[in-house]
Symmetry: none
DNA sequence: AATGAATGAGTATTCATTCAT
DNA sequence: CATGAATGAATACTCATTCAT
């Protein structure tokens, strides 16, 4: 799937009748690139227009304001960061169907899933990481998404494994904090802070899983 | 030590003859506050001047450009983030004097030290975290500082404990990555991402140390 | 006669073969409303299009420019302001047929006639009053219309009554100025400046006639 | 008194400590000229700046918005239109001191006073006449000023002369309407609508007074 | 040293108009 | 005929920076 098709898919979500035109894609591609390079505030609509190969007015035909453009880029992504569609699958596997996934299999699945997501969406992620600090509405959208779609389910999962005795009996939310910061700490280092360094991804992933498992398993 | 004196100390470093005037302190205080609230690009010098209680022109008498003002705030902090002055102390204790500090005592010291640092410098840290992504010069300054003052020493320390058999035999830099992301992951969550939530700091610190130790210790 | 039909009649004048379509009427209705509310310069064609329920481009299919749209609205009205069709009738009655209309009957007829005209065309009048100051072409059209169709005839009429001794012997054009400003002064107050106040129209009209008659009659 | 000094005097009113700078005067002069020529909406700040010989930014240093500039021009004039300072004088003469001014002397004074005012402030008046229709706040300011400073006093005066039997016994406010429209009708014709025509001002003023007096006096 | 008026390039946004469908 | 996406020039306004006082 080409990058164009990929972006198209993401941004057409939820407005399936409203076609996203060729030019709109170009605008979004340009905006993503420039926003992630210089930040929202320092990006100028004229530069975006030039890079997208459209007239400046064209941007405002599709997005009422510069902020609208930002949100149209970010909103559909916010949900996706928070937790994978796949999540549903293994939530079911674990909690409903009681299939015997061990905790490290869960961690491995999550890590791989997020690894791929971050790898494919690095610029979008950079934008969110940068801008979430300055746009309260965005922060709230994110928190809501996290609470509704991830946090509660993570708690169930962790408690399940704590009950089974696979992981240590410390406050559930501390467990979650540690898992989440370790995973995203790795991914942010890997793709955002020092992407230019050489990474042996397979090894680092395995080490990260091991680190989490040792950190949390009983004895 | 009042906050004014604290800032004075930080920003006088390295230019001990150049007095930092009352007004300059006011400007820096205002700049730190506004930069951390809205980001460098979205902050206006006129707003900073107003908050500092000086005329617009006065800022430019002390700092040639807006960017100079940013760097004058950030540069002296960059070093301090990277690693504690204290480091020298325990590097000596560990590597030179061969005092018998265990690895978890090291981790505990580091964590407490960084905890206090981040707690006392949250706004400065926020600025750096935000702006480092957009200013290459700043990124390089940081990397240099990290390499020169922290990384090599951390390697020595980690290798020392790996040799002693206290921690597992995985690539040294992976150990460092995991320690660093876990510690800063905690601190960033604690002070920047969800500072408004209630934190039982003592407990979380202990859990974090435990997590790192379990994650890295042999067996 | 519905308002639609009324507008249709006005704007079809002079181009009897060119049908005025349903959409064109809608456009004109919308334009009249918006021009009179916010003025020509502050009205946007896109707002007019939206209110008319047509596409933005449709306006420009019928009117080459925004200014064309303005003139197409105003030109047919300019003549009608200046003097009533009815005028021909009483010019004939007075000057040609020498029927014995007294001067106050003339004034009364004019006043009633203009009263009805202004009442039925307030928004159009507002537009003209506003825009005539800024569009020289329009001003000239108006002056020409006034000179050709009203002024000369008014002079004849006034001189006729001066000769008959019904009105005082001051410069004819001063008489005209006073009659005209008194009548339009009343109508503009009544319909444009303070239309929201309660008006006893019959009484005010009679008083106005009386005022003019006393002001101009001999002794 | 040069025009510069005249404008200075008007616009410094009420903020006597705040000096009005040379540049500010230039800006106001340019704004008055351009607003009156093309109307507020069609006037561009860049054109005003160019005509004033200042940078565009300079306008906004003195007036936060274009609308502020408009109001700073208009507000001090609104009061002055409504009624002359002199008014106080003859109100006293007539109502308090019972000096024996006849009604036509009152009318003559008013007319001369307003004649001079309009003559000296034609462009400002044009602006107000044009813009009052589109800016509700301005309309309200004007109505308030009129009600507070003119209307009630005019009623007293007119009732005084009606009681004395000098003018006819029709509703007081109709008298006022007729006087006001006749006077301003004349002045607007004279200075705004056809200023280019040759006017014998003395004669027209006398005729206008005569017209009003005949129109209103008993028999 | 400090001020703050002045600058002018730059910003997001609007709008009349064009044109391919 | 009608549409509405696209244009690009123009708009009000902001801002870092300069400089005379």
């Amino acid at each position: 799937m080409s990058e164009q098709e990929w972006l198209k898919e993401i941004f057409e979500q939820g407005k399936k009748d409203q076609k996203v035109s060729e030019k709109q894609i170009k605008i979004i591609e340009a905006a993503v690139e420039i926003f992630s390079e210089k930040g929202y505030a320092a990006a100028s609509t004229s530069e975006i227009a030039k890079k997208a190969g459209v007239a400046e007015g064209t941007i405002f035909r599709h997005y009422r304001t510069k902020k609208d453009l930002l949100y149209s880029i970010i909103t559909p992504t916010l949900l996706k960061i928070v937790f994978p569609v796949v999540a549903k699958t293994f939530i079911k596997q674990v909690l409903v169907k009681h299939e015997d996934l061990s905790f490290d299999e869960i961690i491995r699945k999550m890590l791989f899933n997020r690894y791929n997501f971050v790898k494919n969406n690095t610029p979008l992620l950079k934008i969110i990481l940068q801008e979430i600090a300055f746009h309260d509405e965005m922060k709230m959208q994110f928190q809501e998404a996290f609470m509704d779609h991830a946090y509660n389910k993570l708690i169930e999962v962790v408690e399940y494994y704590q009950a089974k005795g696979e992981i240590i009996d410390i406050p559930t939310k501390s467990v979650i904090r540690m898992v989440v910061t370790t995973i995203f700490g790795f991914l942010i280092m890997r793709f955002i802070i020092v992407p230019e360094s050489e990474w042996n991804d397979e090894e680092e992933i395995e080490l990260t899983i091991q680190f989490i498992m040792n950190g949390l398993s009983k004895k």
